[in-house]
Amino acid sequence: MPSSLAEAGERLTVHGDAGAELSGGKLSAVEISPRVGAVPRRITFPDGSLFETGDNDAIDRFLTRKGRGREGIIHRMERFHPRLIAFVAAAILLGALIYRFALPALVEVAVAVTPPVVPRVMSVSTLEALDRTVLGDSELDEARRGRIIEGFRAIAALSAGGEGDYTLNFRKGGAIGPNAFALPDGTLILTDELVELAGNDTEMIVGVLAHEIGHVELKHSLRQIYRAAGVAALIMLIAGDIGSGAEDVLVQGGGLLSLSYSRSAEAAADRHSVELMLKAGRDPTAIARFFQLIETKLEDHSETSIFSTHPGTPERRKAILDLVAELRAQPR
């Protein structure tokens, strides 16, 4: 019903058309809703009655006079004003800075404070899950296994963690075929199929294992998990209101970015292999031969694409050979 609001000393009162007081209360006990755009203000009295007014400016003037002008600060920021251009720039800049610097820093902190038991538990359970589902017992003969283990021990001993940090497991790959992979606690898994693919070139397998040791030493899997979580959190944060379609696009974009991260991790592990093999006095180009083998036997000539987890095989091989040449050229 039509009525008016008035100030009476310490009190705020509402009067009807006839002038009778309908409601009132001490200013401190009256709740005045913060201003949002041109939405009518609600003034709620202690007895639950409500006074609504579209005259936002009058309420703001009143609050300022009472020294409560600060309550409207958010609204003043939100007003349509050239200042908003600066806000847009600041939001974009801050978002980019967080992605570029804060996120990697947070990932490093998270990796540093993760107790070693976490990767261990993760690895044990992953291996158990893999053993139950795809992997089978290795059918390699002892002699071949012995040669690989010998090479593996030699390079593991020279890695930062020492030989004790790594264990090598032989498995039959089954559905995953020729492959070698590392779990974050230093458990390495090598499939029979890969050993067969390598033929008699044990050195090549050692080179591949050095690559996997690189993944463990550089803590790639932990980093990837934290990074994915961080990117998801960032999208959730900023994407408070961008529409569900645009949010999907952001998530997909985040996926593409994480692939680029995965490719650079592969390249870093390749370099690690070269360095470790050189240090052990073994053939640093062994892993390049492995890529050559993949190219010819599996006919993989793919180039680096933004949709893959690994860099293109020919490109990787070239990068490795370049690095070997560079390292060999350096005076020691």
Partner: protein, 374 residues
């Protein structure tokens, strides 16, 4: 329910009516009083403060956003009100966040325990959704009378877990059933003051609105299939000779993958928007308040889909900057095509409801579950 019949007037025919803006029967339409420029300020300050406070402000941002949209949603020249406090929303979010962290940690540490955990998740989500719906309803008021939601977890489980799973398993054939369940769950459990809403959308009507979307998806998949088939036949002779896989071919395979991906997104997106508008029309128009006041929705499915798609494209092209404009545009359209017809004198109806008061006091303790509006 005989009252539900007029709902099935095909929405695309309704364009004729829109010029008049005042359909027969005294329907009172909602309107939207906000503007894009006003919302732009609220939106960008929300984003900026959310970033600066590392996400904590997002709870208060939601309050400001909702107060803006609810407050500008006007029926009979009075706006709706959103009363949630940032603190309540923050606590609710922290709980959900903690659960997700625990869930992911356990999943990483014990992948084989994932099954049991998934089951727990299926029970937890309906509970959260129920709480979220209740929270959203209770913090919403119109003419100083609050809404309420009295649905239980069991109903949410059927409506939001069993329904979508069933729809997915049957490749969308049972999607109308799922839609009916969820609309019935929400519509029959919603209260305004002490009065109830009731809804019973006819399954036949939902299937009628589902058909064009199903046809769209089928046609889209056929076209995509044809594109793939044509390209494979064109590329096959080149691939027989492994050495001949040229860079160009590589590039064209990549381009094809992207094209197919975008097409899939477009086909499913359009079809689901089309369906969403149709179901909304059917369900809202089959809803009554207090057993006699009829609700109505007469979105044009074409127009609704067009607005949503063009909003998406414009938001993307302007790197998000036009999002406030897009949000206001959509809110205006949807509000203008939502109406209620009061049986009797409006003033009397509302003063009776106001006299009865709300079932919920203003000072209840509640926290938000999922972000889930209605």
């Amino acid at each position: 329910m005989a009252l539900s019949e007029p709902a099935t007037v095909p929405a695309y025919l309704d364009r004729r009516n829109n010029f008049g803006r005042s359909p027969a029967g005294g329907f009172q339409r909602l309107s939207f009083a906000g503007s894009a420029s006003e919302y732009f300020g609220i939106w960008i300050v929300n984003i900026l403060l959310t970033i600066v406070t590392l996400g904590i402000y997002s709870a208060w941002a939601k309050v400001r956003r909702n107060r803006y949209f609810y407050g500008n949603t006007v029926l009979l020249s009075r706006g709706f009100e959103y009363h949630a406090k940032g603190g309540q929303i923050l606590i609710g979010r922290l709980i959900v966040f903690a659960y997700l962290i625990i869930y992911n940690v356990v999943l990483t540490v014990m992948p084989l325990a994932g099954g049991a955990l998934g089951l727990l998740f299926f029970l937890f989500v309906p509970w959260l959704l129920t709480r979220g719906l209740r929270f959203s309803a209770r913090v919403t008021s119109y003419r100083n009378v609050r809404f309420d939601f009295v649905g239980r977890t069991g109903g949410a489980f059927v409506a939001f877990i069993v329904g979508p799973v069933l729809a997915a398993l049957t490749l969308g054939i049972l999607a109308p059933l799922a839609s009916r369940w969820s609309y019935r769950y929400i519509g029959n459990n919603l209260r305004y003051g002490r009065k109830a809403f009731a809804t019973d959308p006819a399954l036949g009507a939902i299937y009628k609105t589902w058909l064009p979307s199903a046809a769209m998806i089928l046609l889209g998949l056929l076209i995509i299939g044809a594109i793939i088939a044509i390209n494979i036949t064109a590329m096959a002779p080149l691939i027989d000779d492994p050495d001949a896989i040229s860079d160009e071919l590589q590039a064209s395979i990549g381009a094809l993958t992207v094209l197919i991906y975008v097409l899939m997104f477009a086909v499913f997106g359009t079809a689901s928007l089309f369906y969403r508008a149709g179901v909304r029309n059917v369900a809202w128009s089959a809803t009554t308040f207090d057993g006699k006041h009829r609700l109505m929705s007469d979105l044009s499915r074409f127009r609704y889909t067009w607005i949503a798609v063009s909003n998406f494209v414009i938001t993307l092209v302007t790197l998000g900057l036009m999002r406030p404009w897009a949000a206001v545009r959509m809110a205006s359209y949807v509000n203008e095509h939502t109406a209620i017809r009061f049986e009797g004198e409006v003033g009397e109806i509302f003063s009776a409801i106001e006299q009865e008061g709300s079932a919920v006091g203003a000072e209840f303790m509640d926290i938000e579950g999922f972000d889930f509006g209605f």
